[in-house]
C-alpha cells in the first residue's frame, strides 16, 4: 500500500466495520437495506446510527426481514435510480444467490460489502472466502481488501466502476470477517469533500419512471437470451481497465494506493511468488520480508480483483518466477483446489510459459495461519522450483487426530 505521509495526522483508531460504514456514508447512498448477520452486523448498525443522527441526507434505510429481501429491495431501488448499498456475509450471501444473478442480469450497480465468513455445515462464524467465491459466476464484480483502510477505500472505487456506463454491474467489496471487520486499528476516515470529487452522483440512463415507462426484467427466449450473457461478459471485460483507473485516480485524490487489479510486492526478481487475496497477505508479506532479509528472492502477488479475473496482469506478474504457490481460503470440494489456484493455472495454460504452480487451501472456518505455516508453504514452493511438483494442491494443516 502506498501511504500518504500526511495521513498520519488524520488517522483515528476505529473498528474496521466503522471505517467501512463511514465510507459507505460518504458515498452518499440513497437506499441502504440491512439484515443482521455476524460478522457483518456492525456495519449496518453503524449506518443505522448515522441515519438516526440525520447524517446521511436523501437516504432511506430499510430493515428487511431476510438477506433475500435485503438484496431484492436494492434491485427495486437501483432500478429507480437510487445509489444502493448493503452488507452481508456467509449464509446471508448464499441466501441472496438467486437475486445476485438477477441484479447483474438487469445491470444494476448495487454495491455490497461482504465480511467474508465460512459457510455451514458445520456452522462457523469465522473467516474464510467460501461465501463470496461461491458467488463467482453471478456476474458481480468481486474485489478483496487486505486491511481495514483498503476495505473502506474500496467502496468509492467500486461504486465508481460499477456505475460506469460501460460497466453497469453490481459489485462486492470483500473484507475478511472478524480479522478486518472487528479489528481496531488506525485508519483515515474518508473525507466527504474528496469523495464528492472522486465519486459523482449516480445518474443512470434507464430508470423506472412514469414519465418515460420502461420494462425491466423481461422474458428472453433462446433467440435473445445469449446476447444478454454476452453483454454481461463484455461489461466485465470493460471493468478491467476501469478498476485500474479508479484505483489510480483514488490514489491521486486521497493519496493512498492499494493496487489496481493486482498488487505486486517484491515480485520483480522473485524466484518464488506467493499469491493470495485478503488479510492473509499481511502475514505473507511479513514472512517474505524475513526471507528477503536472508537474501532469498521471494515475492508476493496480491489479487485484488477476483471478478473480473485479471488474466493478463497475473500472467505478466508471475511469468518469470521459478515456482508459484497460491493460497486459497476456499475449496471446490471434489476438485481439491481453491478457486484462485484453479483459475491461475487456467490462465497460464495457453500461455507460452510453463512454470510450476501449486495450491494450498488454508484458513478454513477461521483456522489461524501463523507465520510458521506460511514459511512451510514457501519451503515447499522452493522445492517445487528446484525439483518439480509432488503434490499439486493440498490442505495446509489438517489435524490427523480429529479425522
Amino acid at each position: 500500500m502506498t501511504v500518504n505521509v500526511a495521513d498520519k495526522d488524520k488517522m483515528v483508531v476505529v473498528e474496521g466495520s466503522y471505517a467501512v460504514a463511514h465510507a459507505a456514508k460518504v458515498c452518499r447512498p440513497n437506499v441502504i437495506s440491512a439484515y443482521p448477520i455476524t460478522p457483518q452486523t456492525h456495519i449496518v448498525e453503524d449506518l443505522s446510527q448515522f441515519i438516526a443522527d440525520g447524517e446521511i441526507p436523501n437516504c432511506e434505510y430499510i430493515n428487511v426481514e431476510s438477506e433475500f429481501s435485503a438484496i431484492s429491495a436494492l434491485v427495486g431501488s437501483s432500478a429507480v435510480g437510487a445509489r444502493s448499498y448493503s452488507a452481508t456475509t456467509s449464509q446471508g450471501l448464499l441466501l441472496m444467490h438467486e437475486v445476485l444473478f438477477n441484479a447483474s442480469g438487469m445491470r444494476l450497480p448495487i454495491i455490497m460489502t461482504v465480511a467474508n465468513r465460512a459457510v455451514g455445515a458445520p456452522i462457523n462464524i469465522w473467516n474464510d472466502h467460501q461465501d463470496s467465491i461461491s458467488q463467482r459466476d453471478t456476474g458481480w464484480l468481486q474485489l478483496h481488501a487486505e486491511d481495514p483502510q483498503e476495505s473502506a477505500d474500496m467502496l468509492p472505487q467500486i461504486f465508481k466502476v460499477a456505475e460506469d456506463k460501460d460497466v453497469l454491474l453490481p459489485g462486492m467489496a470483500c473484507m475478511d470477517g472478524f480479522i478486518l471487520s472487528h479489528v481496531y486499528e488506525p485508519v483515515v476516515l474518508l473525507e466527504q469533500d474528496l469523495t464528492d470529487e472522486f465519486l459523482p452522483a449516480y445518474d443512470p440512463e434507464y430508470v423506472l419512471d412514469p414519465a418515460n415507462p420502461m420494462s425491466f426484467g423481461a422474458f428472453a427466449a433462446p433467440d435473445t437470451y445469449e446476447e444478454f450473457r454476452f453483454m454481461q461478459e463484455k461489461a466485465m471485460q470493460a471493468a478491467l481497465p476501469k478498476i485500474e483507473a479508479a484505483a489510480k485516480e483514488f490514489g491521486e485524490i486521497y493519496g493512498r494506493f492499494h493496487g489496481g487489479l493486482i498488487d505486486e510486492y517484491l515480485t520483480d526478481d522473485a524466484e518464488v511468488i506467493v499469491m493470495s487475496m485478503g488479510s492473509i497477505l499481511g502475514t505473507v508479506k511479513d514472512v517474505v520480508d524475513e526471507y528477503r532479509a536472508r537474501g532469498e528472492k521471494i515475492g508476493v502477488l496480491k489479487v485484488r480483483s477476483f471478478r473480473p479475473f485479471p488474466k493478463e496482469q497475473i500472467r505478466k506478474a508471475i511469468k518469470d518466477a521459478a515456482a508459484v504457490v497460491v493460497l486459497d481460503k476456499n475449496i471446490s470440494i471434489g476438485l481439491n483446489e481453491g478457486a484462485l489456484f484453479t483459475e491461475t493455472k487456467s490462465c497460464m495454460y495457453n500461455s507460452r510459459c510453463d512454470i510450476p504452480i501449486i495450491g494450498y487451501t488454508i484458513g478454513h472456518g477461521g483456522r489461524d495461519v501463523p507465520r510458521e505455516s506460511v514459511a512451510k508453504i514457501i519451503e515447499e514452493a522452493k522445492k517445487v522450483a528446484s525439483s518439480g511438483i509432488t503434490v499439486e494442491s493440498q490442505f495446509l494443516d489438517v489435524k490427523e487426530e480429529l479425522l
Partner: protein, 296 residues
C-alpha cells in the same frame, strides 16, 4: 348510459390465452391506478405473456425480478422514490399470482407490509401454479384437481382448504384489505383506486378464474368469476384498519354445485363414489362465508 370505462395501460397483443384472467386483472388494476404507477410483477403467467423481449405490453414502468421477492422489490422502489424526492403522486403497485403471493413470496410480502411501505399489492388468485402447468398452491380450493393434487382411488384432489391470505394481511395491520373479482370490473377498479390512495401498505385479493387451469371455455371467464361470488365461495368485502366495513351482498345464493359442475377441475366430484358428500363439504364452506361475512 353508464360512464365510459377508465383508460387502461396494458396494451393488447400480449401472449395471454383466450379469456385470460391475468390480462383482465392487470387491465382493471391499471384502470384503477392510472398512469403514474410503477408496477412490480413477480414471476408468473402475467410476466411471461406481457414481456417477451423486446416487446412489452406495459405502458407504465414495470419491473420483474424473481418469483419470491415482489414485496421486497416494491419496498425498494418505494424507498428509492422517497429518497430521491420523486414519490409524490407515484403509486407503487405489486401484482402477482397466488403462488408468488401466498406461497413462495409470502416472507417478502410480509416484510413489506410489516414495515409499512406505501405500496399496494394485488394478488391475482387463479388458485394454482398455472404458468408451470396447473400445480397445487395454497390458494387451491378443497377437492380441486391439479396436476399435483389429482383425484385417485383414495383421493378427491386437493385435501386442504384455501389459505385465508386476506386475513393474514389484515393481521399485519394493513389499513386496507379488500377482496374482489375480475367478474366485477367496476368493483375491482374502485378498490384498487382506493387502495392506492390510502397511505401505507394496502392489499387486494382478486379472484381470477383461469380457463386453461380450471377447464372451462375461454368465453366464460367472467361468468365463472361471477358464479364464485353468487355461490358465496368467493366473498367480496373490504376491511379497513382491521374492521369489516363493506360486503357485497348475495341475495339468493346459488348452490355450489352450479359452480363446481362448470369446471373440469371438479368433474371427479360428480363421477366418483362419495362425491356428493364432498360437494356438501364445499357447500358448508359457502354457508360459513354467508354467516361469517354476513353476505345475505
Amino acid at each position: 348510459m353508464s360512464k365510459p370505462a377508465p383508460k387502461t395501460y396494458l396494451a393488447p397483443g400480449h401472449r395471454g390465452c383466450a379469456g385470460c384472467c391475468d390480462a383482465l386483472a392487470a387491465k382493471f388494476m391499471l384502470m384503477g391506478t392510472g398512469p403514474n404507477t410503477i408496477v412490480v410483477n413477480p414471476t408468473g403467467c402475467l410476466e411471461v405473456m406481457t414481456t417477451p423481449f423486446p416487446e412489452s405490453a406495459w405502458k407504465v414502468p414495470w419491473i420483474h425480478s424473481l418469483f419470491e421477492n415482489g414485496g421486497a422489490v416494491a419496498s425498494g422502489v418505494e424507498a428509492a422514490l422517497k429518497a430521491l424526492g420523486r414519490k409524490e403522486g407515484i403509486k407503487v403497485i405489486g401484482v402477482g399470482g397466488d403462488g408468488s403471493t401466498m406461497d413462495i413470496g409470502i416472507r417478502s410480502l410480509s416484510g413489506a407490509f410489516e414495515r409499512g411501505h406505501d405500496i399496494t399489492y394485488v394478488c391475482v388468485d387463479n388458485e394454482a401454479y398455472m404458468n408451470t402447468g396447473i400445480q397445487r398452491s395454497s390458494g387451491t380450493p378443497f377437492d380441486a384437481s391439479t396436476t399435483t393434487s389429482p383425484p385417485g382411488k383414495i383421493s378427491f384432489g386437493n385435501p386442504r382448504p384455501k389459505k385465508n391470505m386476506p386475513a393474514i394481511m389484515v393481521a399485519h395491520g394493513s389499513p386496507y384489505v379488500a377482496t374482489t373479482s375480475i367478474g366485477y370490473p367496476r368493483d375491482m377498479i374502485k378498490k384498487v383506486k382506493k387502495a392506492t390512495e390510502i397511505e401505507g401498505p394496502a392489499y387486494i385479493h382478486a379472484h381470477a378464474p383461469c380457463p386453461t387451469g380450471w377447464g372451462f371455455d375461454g368465453s366464460k371467464t367472467i361468468e365463472m368469476a361471477k358464479l364464485a361470488v353468487e355461490t358465496c365461495l368467493w366473498p367480496m368485502y373490504e376491511m379497513e384498519n382491521g374492521e369489516l366495513t363493506q360486503v357485497k351482498k348475495v341475495k339468493n345464493p346459488k348452490p355450489v354445485e352450479e359452480y363446481l359442475r362448470a369446471q373440469k377441475r371438479f368433474k371427479h366430484l360428480f363421477t366418483m363414489d362419495g362425491g356428493d358428500e364432498e360437494i356438501k363439504k364445499i357447500q358448508a364452506t359457502a354457508d360459513w362465508n354467508i354467516e361469517f361475512y354476513g353476505l345475505q
